[in-house]
Amino acid sequence: MSEAARLSAHLTRGARWGLGEIAFWLLIVALIFLVPSRALLINEILIAGLFAMSLDLILGYAGIISLGHAAFFGIGAYGAAILASRGIHDPILGLILASLLAGFLGLATAPLLLRGSDLTRLMVTLGICLMLGELANRNSWATGGADGLNFELTPIFGLLPIGFTGQRNAALYSLVVLFLLFVLARRIVQSPFGLSLRALKENRLRAGALGVSAPHRLIVIYAISATYAGAAGALVAQTTQIVSLDVFDFHRSADVLLMLIIGGTGYLYGGIIGAALFIAIKDGLSTATPEYWEFWIGLLLVALVLGGRERIGARLHALLPRRLRGGSAA
């Protein structure tokens, strides 16, 4: 191979789809059709996976830590619910508008995260989420307050009802949204913009000395991440057709961080794998030891972060034969 070809192959290695990746997505489709009785659980995993992937965009790719990512999840959920209760019954339109609303909130609050330490960022994100939760509680004329908000949606394309009467459709709907947003995220992290985020995360001093403007780049990725989190929130609201104040709960921000750490940061699949493990463990253990399952999650977490920090996905990945491996996990 010529030097030029070797260089080009090296720089574009992450953009190629590996067979392992294709199998990953086909497996999810197969599960939805083969185990329709667990469609509700699969839907929950897909949405949590999208939420964790949105956190990965800022934490794994830009090094921004957040303990209030549920702010955008909640805005997306209430955005979708309020739109539907005020006459916009089309789920796709509602999803897009609600996600964009969350994105704008991300754009507006991102400048608050540019200064200060990680502790500052934890407190700012946590504080914003608390404020939004309380605003939702207070403005019950729009949100239904503590009673929550019920609403009706038309079937997707007028054909496929989602929600409790169409749990498989709901899971498929979430899967399509997750997949499309995953493909977009995959392009973003492989783009020059994505490369500059990696550089900023690895060495902000040098990235600046090469002309990378940190504030602009970080604000953009934060807004993208917020849009993704909003989409996850909108999906939860739409597929259950009810939304309540718990979408802003602190435990949501904490859980999504746990899922991402369990699955591994900085490679997009980590969020989805982490969400699957987290929810499967929770589901399995909470039937076996309903009062005790968080003990095992806690133990797993401590073992993971102390034991080499290596992502679970990467270990599974290493078990695959070389030709099956995709690029993006490299």
Partner: protein
């Protein structure tokens, strides 16, 4: 007199009562090979930070190709063509040399904010990255994570990254610092091969390197310029021998 590539006029920087930079007026002609030397604590680092925009001067001005850039941020000065390397490597440890250079070239071409293109599929960027890898002898290790490279290779990448911005003026901050003897020749060769039209200010401790590379030398002592001259003049100056060589000069 032609326009200087880089000039300082009466540059002063105080930290409280300490005058770290004391009325420094320095002038680099286009394409100069100029060295800045001085004993530890002479204020070389402060001066570099004033030139690059990390610090703002208490008084005086920095001019880049005739334009006053004193009020510009470090980032804006980089975009005007003033780049630097670092005394202690400032690299991207988990990124490969190819990726690091791809970033630097892409940023210079203004593509860094684009989030749909593929970073490694742009022909213009690729050609330039390949050229830089070849010139700095990094082709063989281009796909290894930077933290795994030999130290000498890392120093070469340090220079290549700055050059990827196609600077008009390049500040080299002790480029050979810490390089083992066996890899030193590579650094010297890379320095000798820098484009002639790039104006270079070399900040260096290593006298052998300074006398090989520079055609003009400024000596900084206690924040002030002690003298400026050709290498021969500087070597012959008794004041320089005294402050720089210390006790040996008296011996």
């Amino acid at each position: 007199m032609s326009e200087a590539a880089l000039e300082t006029r009466g540059l002063v920087r105080r930290f409280g009562g300490l005058v770290a930079t004391d009325n420094v007026s320095l002038r680099l002609e286009p394409g100069a090979r100029h060295a800045l030397i001085g004993p530890n604590g002479a204020g070389k680092t402060t001066l570099v930070n004033l030139l690059t925009g990390i610090l703002k001067p208490t008084a005086g001005a920095v001019l880049l190709e005739g334009r006053d850039v004193s009020a510009l941020s470090a980032n804006a000065r980089v975009r005007r063509g003033l780049c630097r390397t670092f005394q202690i490597n400032q690299l991207f440890p988990a990124m490969t040399p190819a990726e690091s250079l791809c970033l630097a070239v892409g940023e210079r071409l203004g593509r860094g904010g684009s989030w749909l293109g593929l970073a490694g599929a742009d022909g213009a960027i690729l050609g330039e990255v390949e050229d830089l890898l070849r010139r700095f002898d990094l082709l063989a290790v281009m796909d290894q994570p930077t933290h795994k490279l030999a130290y000498g290779k890392q120093r070469l990448l340090e220079i290549a990254l700055a050059l990827a911005r196609r600077p008009r003026v390049l500040l080299l901050d002790e480029p050979a610092a810490g390089v083992p003897e066996g890899e030193r020749a590579d650094i010297l060769a890379a320095l000798a091969a820098l484009p002639a039209d790039v104006t270079i200010l070399l900040i260096e401790h290593d006298m052998d390197l300074v006398f090989r590379f520079a055609t003009r030398i400024s000596v900084l002592v206690a924040g002030r310029l002690l003298m400026e001259g050709s290498p021969a003049e500087v070597a012959a100056d008794p004041r320089v021998r005294e402050v720089y060589l210390g006790a040996d000069a008296h011996g």
